[in-house]
Amino acid sequence: MPELLCVRNLKVSLRDPPTGREGWVLRGVDLRMEAGERVALVGESGCGKSVTALSILRLLPRPPMEISSGQIEFKGRDLGNLTREQWLEIRGREIGMVFQEPISSLNPVMPIGEQIAETLRNHSGLSTGEIRARTLSLLAQVGLPDPPRLLSQYPHQLSGGMCQRAMIAMAVACGPSFLIADEPTTALDVTVQTQILDLLFRMTEEQRLAVLLITHNLMIVRGHADRVVILYLGLVVEEGVPGEIFRHPQHPYTEGLLAALPEVSHKGRPLYNIPGVVPSPFEDLKGCAFADRCPRVERKCRESAPPLLETRKGHQARCFYPSGK
């Protein structure tokens, strides 16, 4: 069976118009997903999570950004040279999208139900009656109360969590096989966040839907992903199943992130503080991107860039000196 998604060595450049300098937002991202797989893409702000998603969807802001090399295959098909029409078809039907701010992704002047119905009208051959029935069943499926009433309600009449449920209903309306969710719960309250993630993952099971869950929050991915991918400065630095990542982090960046999380049990002791700051996309990097902040840095790290290698079973890290070795 072919992989669902295969991103190979994706590089995205960034041009700074005033100076004409060229920088790198993605420095060679590899990402593979199988059908029905739930992958969490995690990293701090600016590391390139959204740009990865936008590259897959061919929605990069161009300029200033440009895919300068790499390959993206979806269901064995090269996404590199599709027509505008083919893209509209893929984005509406095969790949669903959910973003951070549901309120700004929904059309404020169109009733919720109508927006879902429109998606169905554009991408399916259903009759008017079938569209109505399908809309109602989608709204019920994402746990929204009183679907008939929602047909005529506007986004501003719903809470943030309900809007996000409506977004999910719209994203899965045409039965996509792949869903990209970019910080889908970041704007929501904590008790609502888990509800939305639970919903997302129930949908993956019911519809054999693969999800790329993008988030800066390590804690929420714990129970909600088959695989975790950690991004730093436009590179995958670590990858593995959640249990591995949380119990045996291999890359010093992942170790640092986990040690920086405050916990009650850690009271009275200082939190680990990753020294320094994230370099800018315009910085020229010769060795490892994390070298300047790394507690284990050696000469080799500054001279050449480490590859992503398997360090434990089902666990990869981009480090010459992974933890415990």
């Binding site: 701090e44 904590v190 888990t194 390590l218 999380l261 916990e263 009650v264 700051v277």
Partner: protein
């Protein structure tokens, strides 16, 4: 006691009738009592809209409560003469989530940090610059930063500037309203370490407000959990988080650890708070009594308190 709140309630009008008379109110804060001793860190946690910021503003005198009392150094604010109030106000500072919004973009850091000293007439004019340089060092910034403008700093650095400005007033207490909520984990850790150090070295007390239970739990000695304007559980932080009693606290704790949350739905609009126990529509254990009876905070003033009559049967 440095700060005492006694049955503080704050209502905002949300609807006005003819002649502009308010016809409906939101109970942003409802009968909240708390105390903060010198050098103590008290945490307040709850979801957005539960009244944390309103409570924080009442505590530093930015809002006047609709009813109830706020006491600074055992003196009720309402009873203070204007000059007395000003003198006390200096000792109770506040730092907000987005420090950028509260820093004048056209002022250099030097001016921003000198201003509180001038306003409050602290130190001799000749000593002030040295003091400000010392402040900057304490929050991890450098002398060169004095001649920069706020926009030249990152989010974490701006939060440090906001903190330095509050510290310039030589406060006894700072209300920290979501001070790390917009920061990345690694930056958050450095700001939390800084706050912890300032508390230990200077003995500054904090009323620490956050929606993140792990952050509040890490820093605070006592903890209050708020829901729809009211405290639903309070006590020593370690105890509350080891054995949370209120179903809402249990849910917050589970959510903060990425575990399954047993409650459903979202907090209702505070202007339309439910009857009886305000939490009952989301509570998996609710029964008739919960729908009819308003919950009182049960328990001991000094130990823990919980606003659930059946907490010991959950």
């Amino acid at each position: 006691m440095l700060l005492s709140l006694r049955k503080v309630t704050k209502h905002f009008p949300v609807q006005r009738g003819l002649w502009g008379r308010p016809t409906a109110f939101v109970k942003a804060v409802d009968m909240v009592s708390l105390e903060v001793g010198a050098g103590q860190i008290v945490g307040i946690v709850g979801e957005s809209g539960c009244g944390k910021s309103t409570l924080g503003r009442c505590a530093v005198g930015l809002f006047e409560p609709t009813s109830g009392e706020v006491l600074w150094d055992n003196l009720e604010i309402r009873g203070l003469a204007a000059s007395q109030k000003r003198a006390h106000q200096r000792k109770f500072q506040v730092v907000f989530q987005n420090p950028y919004a509260s820093l004048n973009p056209r002022q250099k850091i030097k001016k921003i940090l000198l201003e509180p000293l001038e306003v409050h007439g602290l130190l001799r004019p000749t000593e002030r610059l040295e003091f400000v340089k010392g402040l900057l060092a304490q929050v991890g910034l450098t002398e060169e930063d004095l001649s920069k403008y706020p926009h030249e700093f990152s989010g974490g650095q701006r939060q440090r500037i906001g903190l330095a400005r509050a510290m310039a007033c030589q406060p006894d207490m700072i209300v920290l309203d979501e001070p790390v909520s917009s920061l990345d984990v690694s930056v958050q850790a450095s700001v939390l370490n800084l706050l912890s150090r300032l508390n230990q070295e200077k003995g500054i007390a904090y009323l620490f407000i956050s929606h993140d239970l792990q952050v509040v739990g890490y820093l605070s000695q006592r903890l209050l959990v708020m829901y729809l304007g009211a405290v639903v559980e309070s006590g020593k932080t370690e105890e509350v988080l080891r054995t949370p009693r209120h179903p809402y606290t249990k849910a917050l704790l589970a959510a903060s650890q990425g575990r399954w949350v047993m409650i459903e739905g979202e907090p209702p609009n505070p202007a339309k708070a439910p009857w009886g126990c305000t939490f009952h529509p989301r509570c998996p254990f609710a029964e008739d009594r919960c729908r009819q009876e308003k919950q009182q905070l049960l328990g001991d003033d000094n130990a823990w308190k919980v606003a659930c009559w059946k907490w010991d049967r959950l």
